[in-house]
């Protein structure tokens, strides 16, 4: 059992700069929580405050019903995997795995049993007598994870544990981490800037920016219903396309004119979404966001039944990327490069024009000044 609660956690440095501000989160037993955000957003700092490696400037940290702000790291019952592995260079792999157990004065036979058990799980039995400097990156990673799980902590804290591995190994370790989470049934708090890791591993994602929590939700929720422009743009690859548009009323529905009111590219939003948009932003300029996979060619738009309601963006393809199962085309709109993800059969070449239709049900509309999502923003969630 482990319940970790963060209440109004702040980290302020001497120069008055807030690294983390007003961080609130409930982490339940066996959850896989991911802190994700760009460099310097405060995600590692938050993790280190939970671990006890950084002082908490303000707020409360509760672990299993105990206020832990002033507990030493060793008394918090957590274990941590560091970005650079932090293996003890003077100890063999066996020594590294056994260190935390030795400190707890476990008997030698018990230590041996536990260490060998963990080594077997992680397939590092043959490395036990080696020193860290004789290990490859992937092997070091396994030893670091092994050292963390060996003493069955209340929760694992992982600080970008896969960022030093190459792409293939990273994908492999990602799968193993998911497996370890399932097998150990322990809470994991995981920091990453890699949104693929966030989306694939997490049961709950915390998106951060400039020390502030932007959104806390399940991966699919974050992807489909981002609360603001930042989350929308950060999660997803290629990232969401953003374009400016004007809101007007047309036959009782909301119409979005791309670029200017005089534009002939427009999108009609009917139903509740349309009403909501008119209520909030009629006559205003807004930012619309469309994921690359929510833009279609004409035939698919007809099939989807939204060819009449959708923007027809006729654009010249500037770059073409074939990814095997799909093809990503890039075009310029409003001085920005926009992406569209199409079926691999699409043969449009660079320099050719293509007619594109946006699925109106899948668009996001953001307020120009607050950058909040008009449909899913904090106001709606409250």
């Amino acid at each position: 059992m482990s319940e970790i609660t963060l209440r109004n956690i702040c980290k302020q440095y001497e120069n008055e700069h807030f690294a983390v501000k007003d961080f609130n989160l409930d982490i339940h037993d066996r959850e896989f929580v991911i802190f994700v955000g760009p460099s310097g957003c405060g995600k590692s700092t938050t993790l280190r405050m939970i671990a006890g490696l950084e002082d908490i400037s303000d707020g409360e940290l509760w672990i299993d019903g105990q206020l832990c702000n002033y507990f030493e790291p060793k008394d918090r019952g957590l274990s941590m995997v560091f970005q650079n592995y932090a293996l003890y260079p003077n100890m063999t792999v066996y020594g590294n795995l056994a260190f935390a157990l030795k400190i707890r004065k476990m008997s030698k036979t018990e230590i041996d049993k536990t260490v060998r058990g963990v080594a077997k799980t992680l397939e590092i039995e043959h490395l036990l007598e080696r020193y860290p400097n004789a290990l490859s990156g992937g092997q070091k990673q396994r030893v670091a994870i092994g050292s963390a799980i060996v003493r069955k902590p209340k929760a694992f804290l992982m600080d970008e544990p896969l960022s030093n591995l190459d792409a293939k190994l990273r994908a492999q370790m990602r799968i193993e981490l998911a497996k370890i989470h399932k097998e150990t049934e322990t809470t994991i708090i995981y920091v990453t800037h890699d949104q693929t890791e966030a989306m694939t591993l997490g049961s709950k994602i915390v998106v951060m920016k400039d020390g502030l929590v932007q959104q806390v939700a399940a991966p699919a929720e974050v992807y489909n219903h981002p609360v603001n422009l930042f989350v929308a743009g950060f999660i997803g690859s290629p990232s969401m396309n953003f374009m400016k548009a004007w809101v007007a009323e047309e036959g009782g529905h909301a119409a979005l004119y791309l670029g200017s009111m005089a534009s002939d590219s427009k999108i009609i939003l009917d139903g509740a979404k349309g009403q909501r948009l008119l209520e909030k932003e009629k006559g205003n300029e807004v930012i619309i966001g469309v994921r690359p996979e929510d833009i279609y060619e004409y035939e698919d738009a007809v099939k989807g039944g939204f060819d009449k309601n959708s923007i027809n963006i006729c654009k010249t393809v500037s770059t073409r990327e074939v990814l095997g199962a799909e093809v990503v085309l890039y075009f310029e709109e409003q001085d920005k490069t926009q992406a569209v993800r199409l079926k691999p059969e699409n043969m449009t070449r660079v320099g050719e024009d293509i007619d594109l239709y946006v699925d109106p049900d899948r668009i996001h509309v953001f307020d120009l000044s607050t950058e909040e999502n008009i449909f899913y923003g904090k106001e709606q969630q409250a």
């Binding site: 671990a51 006890g52 490696l53 030493e72 790291p73 060793k74 918090r76 957590l78 274990s79 941590m80 560091f82 650079n84 932090a86 293996l87 003890y88 260079p89 003077n90 100890m91 260190f99 935390a100 400190i103 707890r104 020193y131 860290p132 400097n133 050292s147 003493r151 804290l157």
Partner: protein, 289 residues
């Protein structure tokens, strides 16, 4: 022609070595060879070899109680100096490895002995240890003639030397500590290690490569200490501080027994060489990463 170029190519590397070889030859190789040569002779007061004496000088030394006393004094002196200076250097380096206000003052203070000449330090110590006006007796409320008592003189000189040598050790250890990755301490904190456990499990092993180097240098330095002994005790009282280097100096420049002094030099060389060789042997087994 071709041969000439080849010959030139073969010799040119040595030409570049000539300047340093000349310096080594004048100040090291020649005196060393001359010392060995002299150790086999009886000399006149000018230090000129006069009568071939074979291993006579060595045999005389080995049967002389004064020489064995020198060896014993040197050993005690070296142990105190090496242990003292390394402990002092290590403790001060560990203390200064954390950031806190005034760290620069403390760092400078701990490294300062490096910049003090042994002779001036000796003179300051002489004042401090003065039986009548010295601060040590005043503070301790004692009445000990530190430098003239055979029971205390060696310890006084050794402690002074340990302090003098601690400055450079502070520097070595600080550099060594800087090379230890901070994240392993963080991991150890989370793993549950106390400060003392971290020191013995991580800091000391992390310092082991530099520790070895420092140990070798300190041993050599301790064996070669001279200035402070010359000023403070001149080998006395009652030969209680007559370390081998001072004994060499005394035999050569007081008693004009250059042969005997040379023989002692050779013995000192052999001792230091053996210790260093043994240490290197141990290092290969001891430092594992």
């Amino acid at each position: 022609m071709n041969k000439k170029v080849k010959a030139k190519g073969r010799f040119s590397p040595y030409v570049y070595l000539v300047p340093s070889l000349v310096i080594f030859a004048v100040f090291l190789f020649y005196p060393f060879a001359k010392t060995i040569y002299l150790s086999l002779f009886k000399t006149n007061k000018m230090g000129e070899a006069k009568i071939f004496y074979g291993i006579g000088n060595y045999a005389d030394l080995l049967s002389s109680p004064s020489f064995w006393n020198s060896m014993k004094v040197t050993l005690i002196f070296a142990v105190i100096v090496v242990v003292g200076s390394m402990l002092l250097g290590l403790i001060t380096a560990v203390l200064c490895n954390k950031a806190f206000p005034g760290i620069r003052f403390f760092s400078t203070a701990y490294a300062l002995p490096m910049a003090i000449a042994s002779s001036s330090a000796a003179m300051i110590f002489e004042l401090m240890l003065h039986p009548a006006v010295g601060i040590v007796n005043k503070l301790l409320g004692l009445d000990i003639n530190w430098l003239n008592d055979p029971n205390t003189a060696l310890y006084c000189v050794a402690i002074l030397t340990a302090w003098l040598n601690s400055g450079i050790n502070f520097l070595y250890f600080s550099a060594g500590l800087g090379n230890i990755d901070d994240s392993i301490y963080e991991r150890a904190s989370v793993d549950g290690a106390s400060g003392i456990q971290k020191f013995f499990s991580l800091t000391l092993p992390g310092l082991s490569p530099i520790m070895f180097y420092t140990l070798v240098v300190n041993i050599i330095q301790a064996f070669q200490s001279f200035g402070q002994i010359k000023i403070l005790t001149e080998g006395g009282p009652n030969e209680s501080t007559n370390v081998i280097v001072y004994s060499i100096y005394r035999d050569a420049f007081f008693n004009y027994k250059f042969g005997s002094a040379s023989a002692q030099s050779v013995i000192l060389f052999i001792i230091i060489m053996l210790i260093t060789l043994v240490m290197f042997r141990i290092e290969k087994k001891g430092v594992k990463y």
